[in-house]
């Protein structure tokens, strides 16, 4: 049976210090939770940069190519004579190409972000804690899963005690 050790801190500053401490102690898969992104937290947790930019680049390139080739194909396959302009009027294809590039990039930004975050995920053991509900308003938490290498509940309790922790609780995950 897994468990999650949930520790609450009173300010973003204390949360940041606690995360730095955990990283220095070699923990890597712990997670911090806050009502808004905290400046410097990615570095404190030693997180790599988000991969989202590359996903969006691919999405944008797809939209660009798809948009331009759609128009080229349609104009040659279904030729319309419009004030004597050439069928392949690439200048006139720019607006639609641009719009489709933006559209595809935006789709990949939004759905790419959800995919990287594994959302929607309506079940999570951490939601079992009623205490955790204030995370979306004014709570700053650290959660450590018992799968984490070197997990020792009592040792972590002692560590958090030195970091001015506000509240500690253990959530049991029976799945």
């Amino acid at each position: 049976m897994n468990e999650i050790l949930l520790a609450e801190f009173s300010t973003p500053g204390k949360l940041l210090k606690a995360a730095e401490k955990l990283s220095n102690c070699g923990y890597t898969t712990y997670e911090t939770y806050s009502p808004f992104p905290i400046h410097g937290m990615d570095d404190a947790m030693r997180l790599k940069h988000s991969k989202l930019g590359w996903i969006v680049l691919c999405g944008g390139a797809t939209g660009l190519i798809a948009g331009f080739s759609l128009q080229t194909w349609v104009s040659l396959h279904y030729p319309l004579i419009i004030s004597g302009k050439p069928f392949f009027s690439y200048q006139a294809f720019i607006p639609v190409t641009f719009e489709l590039m933006v559209l595809f990039s935006a789709f990949s930004a939004v759905f790419g972000m959800f995919a990287l975050n594994k959302l929607p995920q309506h079940y999570n053991p951490i939601f079992k804690s009623d205490y955790f509900r204030k995370v979306t308003s004014h709570g700053f938490f650290i959660g450590i899963d018992s799968n984490e290498k070197g997990y020792d509940r009592d040792k972590l309790r002692d560590l958090f005690a030195t970091l001015d922790v506000k509240h500690i609780e253990v959530i049991e995950d029976d799945e």
Partner: protein, 460 residues
Amino acid sequence: MTASTSSIVQVKRPDLVVPGETFESVTEIVSRPMEMKLPSWWLITFCVAVSGVLLLKSMLAYLIWEGIGIWGLNNPVGWGYAIVNFVFWVGIGHAGTLISAILFLFRQKWRTAINRFAEAMTIFAVICAGIFPGVHIGRQWLAYWLFPIPNSMGMWPNFKSPLLWDVFAVSTYFTVSLMFWYVGLVPDLATVRDRAKSKVRQMIYGIFSLGWRGSNRHWQNYEKAYLLLAALATPLVLSVHSIVSFDFAVSQLPGWHTTIFPPYFVAGAIFSGFAMVVTLMVLARQLFNLKALVTIGHLERMNKIILLTGMLVGYAYGMEFFMAWYSGYQYETFAFINRATGPYAWAYWIMVSCNVISPQLFWFKKCRTSIPIMFIVSIFVNIGMWFERFVITVTSLHRDFLPSSWGYYSPTWVDVCTFIGSFGLFFTLFLLFLRFLPVISISEIKNVMPEADPHYGEEH
């Protein structure tokens, strides 16, 4: 040397949130409109707005039944209220994207108090806008011909036409704005979920908040997505109104065929949109008691943008006349002299007084910070910007090259009722938004509070 270093004084920026508020109290303030007892003013205005929707629906049903002959269109004025209303509504939407995307890229932190509100306005305005070209096509049941959908007739749209570019621009704009808005809403919907007292409420907000739990790994990707969306929406919003202006500028009609149109339309769009944000925000902060988060300072900044964009628009009006004279092209000259002195001079001068003269009041700090004055000016700007589109569309068309094809366009009661009905739709959606969604971005506004800085309270 010592004297100069000691005289350095840290310049304090004005507070974005009234001092004394905490993270918890901000959540309270924003959640209150969703959790309080339904106010009676809400119910009354909602009923009025819904009757507007019914009016709109019946006008559209009548139109589809009878055909566009029930509108005031004639020969030579083949474009009337439909295009005027379309450009008017799309323009209003632009302020939302400007606030949410462009001001985000420029790190204008004051935007956090108004961006959610303005984005909602964008979406509802674009919905209203989309109706008009959709029904203007005459055979509305063939509206899908606008899109390149493979069909048994082997027929495809004309990609060289600005009207088709517009289809892509406006539908992309709507989709991207909606996604941007939703992404911003996810953490706040989770806040509402976590505060919910009833099971149903928790379920509904729970579904839409996708299981958000404020995890930092999530925030990392989230912030990246938000930045990328802002970076995509910025050129998008500029392209949309540029393409809307191509509907006119790419034709060869005097009064329309000018290269100034794209920037002129974009400036006008931002101008009208900010006016609409001010109109609605003044009311909402009063009715829902949001004054601690939306301060006079926010409104004053918006009024400064109204002043700036109002003058850009005024410059464009002047430049159009200058070019008409300087080009030496007699039809162009005629179109503009006719605009200011012809049968539609009344509309032209309403436009100039509302758009160019009335914002000049905002040079004075007293006027910029006075709620009644800014409310009245914002209404004037809304009226003036509707007339701008009316003037551009109708005055350029009504006197064709030959005097034998001159005419005068007046709307019919159907035109007027459809336009009024579109306001009903806008306000219905807006009132629903005010009641059921967080009108201010809870997570973003916390981020600009001094307490959000991890080094807050530490010695430097």
